[in-house]
């Protein structure tokens, strides 16, 4: 379940998204920062690329946890299979969230590229 996700490590190429920081309009997301108390949102002045990088790191963490547990399930050392299924769930959700954010950012970028002077 989680192995195909290794392919997504290619997502690190996303760092090319730092181009998005040029979009000042996105800093309008500052208003959102107040509404979110997640650890990823440290302060209102953090740029989008930083947030994305931090998010990707945490996604990578959940993937790794799920992968480790999958190995433990396979070799029979995991007493509680529910731990694995829940970690896999969490990894899937984190992945979906990342993709949703990435797609939104890409949409915004393309929208701006389509703008006529």
């Amino acid at each position: 379940m989680t192995s195909p996700i290794n392919a997504i490590s290619g997502i690190s190429s996303l760092s090319g998204l730092s181009g998005v920081t040029g979009v000042d309009g996105v800093s309008g997301a500052d208003a959102l920062a107040g509404a979110q108390s997640t650890d990823a949102v440290q302060g209102p002045n953090e740029n989008f690329a930083g947030l994305l990088a931090k998010g990707l790191e945490s996604v990578q963490g959940t993937q790794k946890t799920a992968d480790d547990l999958a190995v433990k399930v396979a070799d029979g050392s995991l007493k509680d299979p529910a731990q694995y299924t829940m970690a896999a769930n969490e990894a899937t959700l984190a992945m979906q969230l990342t993709l949703a954010v990435r797609n939104k950012a890409l949409d915004a970028f393309q929208e701006i590229m389509r703008m006529q002077a």
């Binding site: 997640t38 990823a40 945490s58 829940m86 959700l93 969230l97």
Partner: protein, 130 residues
């Protein structure tokens, strides 16, 4: 853990109730043990559930043990019987263990239901952004 906290918290609950089920199965497995009167009877295991140290969910704080004295039973045929014909059996009530098993099972399922609902909710929130 931080992004999808409900799942992490529910998983601590799942672990606690899994351990309770383990303890109950241990008790039922050893329910009919017989020991000499000079020895200890099998002591029932009870998990001590408490709030998690980091405040997120529950944890098993330790294990409490039931009576080591058990119940003295007259069974002179038993090879373990003492000179007066008594043996020691654990003081475990099958009815109570069964009730505990049902409670642990239902609570385990309840925690998994929380995981299920949390996943549904998170998925809905993510789909909102698509």
């Amino acid at each position: 853990m931080s992004t999808f906290n409900a799942i992490g918290v529910a998983s601590t609950g799942v672990t606690v109730y899994r351990k309770w089920l383990d303890a109950v199965s241990d008790n039922i497995a050893n329910m009919n043990n017989v020991s000499r009167t000079s020895e200890k009877a099998f002591q029932a295991r009870y998990v001590v559930a408490q709030e998690a140290a980091d405040g997120n969910g529950a944890q098993v704080g330790g294990v409490a043990f039931g009576s080591a004295e058990g119940v003295l039973t007259y069974d002179p045929q038993n090879p373990l019987a003492d000179s007066k014909g008594y043996v020691r059996r654990p003081d475990i009530d099958l009815g109570s263990q069964m009730a505990q098993m049902m409670m642990a099972q239902r609570a385990y399922q309840a925690n998994l239901a929380v995981v299920d609902r949390a996943k549904e909710s998170y998925t809905a929130a993510i789909n909102l952004g698509k």
